[in-house]
Symmetry: D2
Subunit: 344 residues, 4 copies
């Protein structure tokens, strides 16, 4: 069986395993106050083109999401997100558990628009800020989205402008940042995210690290006592250098960017195979996640050799996701492409 079910089913880049082995007997200060975290911080600041951002490493993406929300919002403030946003439907209501309402907007291919956000914010801000409503104070988007799609630079600029207009924070969930940056259709850079968002992260877990997300906090307000919020929510790893070391290593040698880009290319081969076969797409994606609608028989055939994720049942068939990753091999894709071509 070959796993195309997700992008976090194998260990880590070789360079990371090697770095772990090389440093295993060295002793370090705890809680992220070590030289590896410093080094990773410097590398990231170079990549984003900002020296004033705060860089923090957090073990997992769900943690990263709700710790940012907890640190940024007061109990009477809420966060705007797509209804398909990861925080709205995949994280067991962790945002609400911290006491904040998600104002969910209907998505289009996983995205929300500046116009939608503006309309939602205006209901509160342009309408006497009534005390019976929460204050929309943050906009959460994912890049790439949960459906593999990408915001363009134009779209991100527009969303950023609406956020500035109303004094809302813009938070970009970059759990799959590598695959987003690596896409042929992408026109955004890490520097853009650093200039246009108040906080975003460079995801490690899904992009080649064992675990870890690198948070980039640009807004002054969110920096204050941020590590206390991390600590309170169990997001300060005792052996924090393990994350610094991973990010320093994979960002410095370029694996983070190249191997995720390669995953996108492999995904495009799968995409083309389905297109050739006229298998309908659920959404058109140019990143490592491909969503198609399979007939029962097609699904059964492919399930004999491949793991993939079933999303939901529709009239025409089952929506399934095929996912490549930094670890996917050309021969695995070749096999899949061949089997797709034989589908009835």
């Amino acid at each position: 069986m070959i796993r195309f079910n997700n992008d976090y089913n194998r260990g880590a880049f070789d360079c990371i395993l090697k770095a772990l082995a090389d440093t295993n007997t060295t002793s370090y200060p705890g809680y992220g106050e070590d030289e590896w975290c410093d080094k990773a911080e410097q590398i990231i600041k170079g990549l984003i083109g900002r020296d004033d951002s705060m860089i923090k490493f957090i073990p997992g993406a769900t943690q990263a999401n709700y710790v940012v929300v907890a640190a940024a919002l007061s109990p009477v403030q809420s966060v705007i997100a797509a209804d398909t946003g990861h925080i709205n439907c995949h994280e067991a209501a962790s945002i609400e558990n911290t006491g904040h309402k998600i104002l969910a907007l209907p998505n289009t291919d996983g995205k929300i628009s500046a116009a939608q956000i503006e309309a939602c914010a205006a209901e509160y801000y342009d309408n006497a800020k009534p005390e019976y409503l929460t204050e929309p104070k943050m906009v959460y988007i994912s890049f790439p989205t949960e459906q593999g799609t990408l915001y363009t630079k134009r779209e991100l600029c527009d969303i950023s402008a609406v956020c500035k207009k109303y004094g809302m924070y813009l938070f970009v969930d970059g759990a799959r940042m590598g695959y987003g940056l690596g896409s042929d259709k992408n026109d955004l850079t890490l520097c853009d995210f650093a200039m246009l968002s108040d906080v975003f992260y460079i995801g490690g877990t899904k992009c080649g690290a064992l675990f870890g997300e690198a948070l980039v906090i640009n807004a002054e307000d969110i920096k204050y006592r941020f590590k206390a919020y991390m600590k309170q929510n169990g997001a300060v790893l005792a052996k924090g250098w393990l994350m610094g070391l991973q990010f320093a290593t994979m960002l410095e040698n370029g694996d983070y960017f190249e191997k995720t880009k390669r995953a996108d290319e492999l995904a495009m081969q799968i995409k083309e195979a389905f297109e050739q076969k006229k298998v309908p797409f659920w959404v058109e994606s140019f990143t490592n996640q491909q969503f198609v609608i399979l007939s029962d028989e097609q699904k059964k055939t492919l399930a004999e050799k491949y793991y993939f994720e079933e999303m939901e049942r529709e009239k025409e068939g089952t929506v399934v996701r095929f996912c490549t990753s930094w670890a996917t091999k050309q021969e695995e894709v070749d096999a899949l492409v061949l089997d797709i071509s034989k589908l009835v």
Copy 2:
């Protein structure tokens, strides 16, 4: 400089690094639903002598502590703990952040007694359970304590009996479990903890793993939907097998027990050195943490070659902690012992 400042300043057992390398290209199911977690679960069930316990792996100890509290207690219930308990003074009020009051009892060398716990519980339970008081529903103790001391089997039985009397859960924080079990003075086993507590954990982070705590949940009530609480609090690692693999490896080959026991022995050498020199102890500990009170000059001298932790300032000098770990070498201790012997 040699680090005696804590027991989490180096990587992991060699066997763990090797296992990571061996499995790096294998693909696994996510979120702890893999064969390594299964294997670790079976090993732990063997070690604790209970097949009905639920075993869950959580990246960090602060997370483990508050997720258990969140899952076990309702908003009107509280947890009894020593005032020196880790949850009361080292975790940024994470328990209160989940909405629960800690009823802190004065410690004796880091411990609380069954009699103290009974008196605290009785105020509520034997007194009409007034609605203006929270219901003490859990007792939290650490083994070893934050001061390196150990509960005896007699003491644990007594505490467990009080908990049963009032229907309270007994929760044992075993972040340093290895060092507790390995102490010459210890008379408790993992089986005892499995029989006498409702939930406890076998700490990995401080006992030779890269990260991870193995939760053992014995009480039926706490098992229900426990993984949802983990998910909600960001404690479900995407690549969950990384924890299963570590626990399976270090528990199976015995490193977990032998190397922490060895750390205790090394700590006893340091203890003896301080005793010889008549340096006063802040508390007498038979585990890997040694607390002594150093004069300013003694502190200055030792600080030239060693990292150790300053706890608090007292009249007679500074309370400091010297900590050995699974990674401490005999020659490091030899050097320290020699330097202690030269102190003025």
Copy 3:
């Protein structure tokens, strides 16, 4: 100016004022442990036909709503409600502030259907109860709804059956219960609510009391330590007898039912006047709240003599609410009806 803006703009039934005066110098036990609360409890148990329900008095409806949710749900459980539900859009995210997600369903005239609820619950319950989703554990509906509409007995039975099927609590917000019961179109009784719901309340604030809601808790699980939840959330009034006295008085002498019924009748006169004038309705209501869409000129004309509430702007005009209450007088309605008839 005559106020038709809401149903809580005047004091209380005369009988309540008199009872307050009569008892002003009598001393009572505090916190609702008095003879008036006992008496009101007995009266309510008679009216609902259940002796095993728990009756509690809470100063306000927002409090009643979130205290019930806090007491009934664990952190990983959520509540299903109409998107127009009071808890979803008029209470400053108090439900999320207690840590619970609202699963908002699109309303039809303020109502949600058993089929909608079943589909929402099935996503979780019929689908392996995944840990990344919250458990829908309560259904919240309002009677009458925020748009003045009524669930029929058939509809309530169907919703109750879905709740039973999935083990979810049914919670009926009865802030305007009197106006619902009093409507010509209503076929539900207090006994029905007591049999079909797990918890509901008989609203006082909007139905003739100075303040206070009478909670009826039928589900055993929610009764446990309920008063502690009230206390923790500031919902135990020190002079609790003030609420017992009001409910005992207005329920016993029938004012609660008769004067709200009368308000419905007056609302029907207003409804007819608008119908005659062919002013479009936003929603058809048979209770004390009437929603019509006024042209700018009509709105301006009526606003000269009457207070009414502006809801939202639509293409055809402004949605406004005219609200009668237990205190509305025939001559006030006569004046309005006349002025409506003169509208252009």
Copy 4:
């Protein structure tokens, strides 16, 4: 039976009942946006000598306490209080339920000192503000305390100075403010509280109103969106004018000050009677609460004719509280004094 068990066992000042009757048919805007609240606000601003304070009316004291804390503190901030503070032991952990730790200091006769507060704050502020500690950001004291004692102006100035030094808010719980101001031993005025605290309240419930506490918010930071916090916590009364009317009436005609002062005088008669009889005091109080230690026989004798509150059991007997109120009559006190004089 005569009730000396507390100060909230009877209705309200006659002037309040009269005002309710006089206004019962008048219609008002809801949610505290009415002319009575405006009037009460103006009266209070006159009494406190500050025009820039925000005045808000909240139904109950527990609500007032935790809403202030919720509005003022972030999740990583905590509140310093006496271990006997009302928020620490009489409010079902409502502060922790909002997510905040109480740093409880040992009381002396219900009070804490500036020196104690400074030492507690210094542990955090003078010690590198470690992320594993919460930030003490508020000091909560009660005036009078739960034991009837009073802070002097000197003491309040000192506490205020420590708060300013560390940037902490000073919050004074004035649930019994009237009895504090009215005491012969008091040297503080409402103007002092307005100058020295960041937020305090003038208690209504225990001082002659049916219910209601008048919050005075002096700190700019706490004012922001404060009403949203009230709404979210169910503390915005629909018929808000009921509180404005009560405060306006009792503050304007002086009942609030005179009748609570009279209660203090009556308490002094009881105090003297116990002194004469050499009944030991638990704490010496010069306000309306008197705490004495009764032998079993004395307790039994007095319990035949009087309600009083049993606090706790001590070796020498039972600590009990006798409480006068604005409604206590001279003849009730005369009877008690006579019966005390006859005790054996």
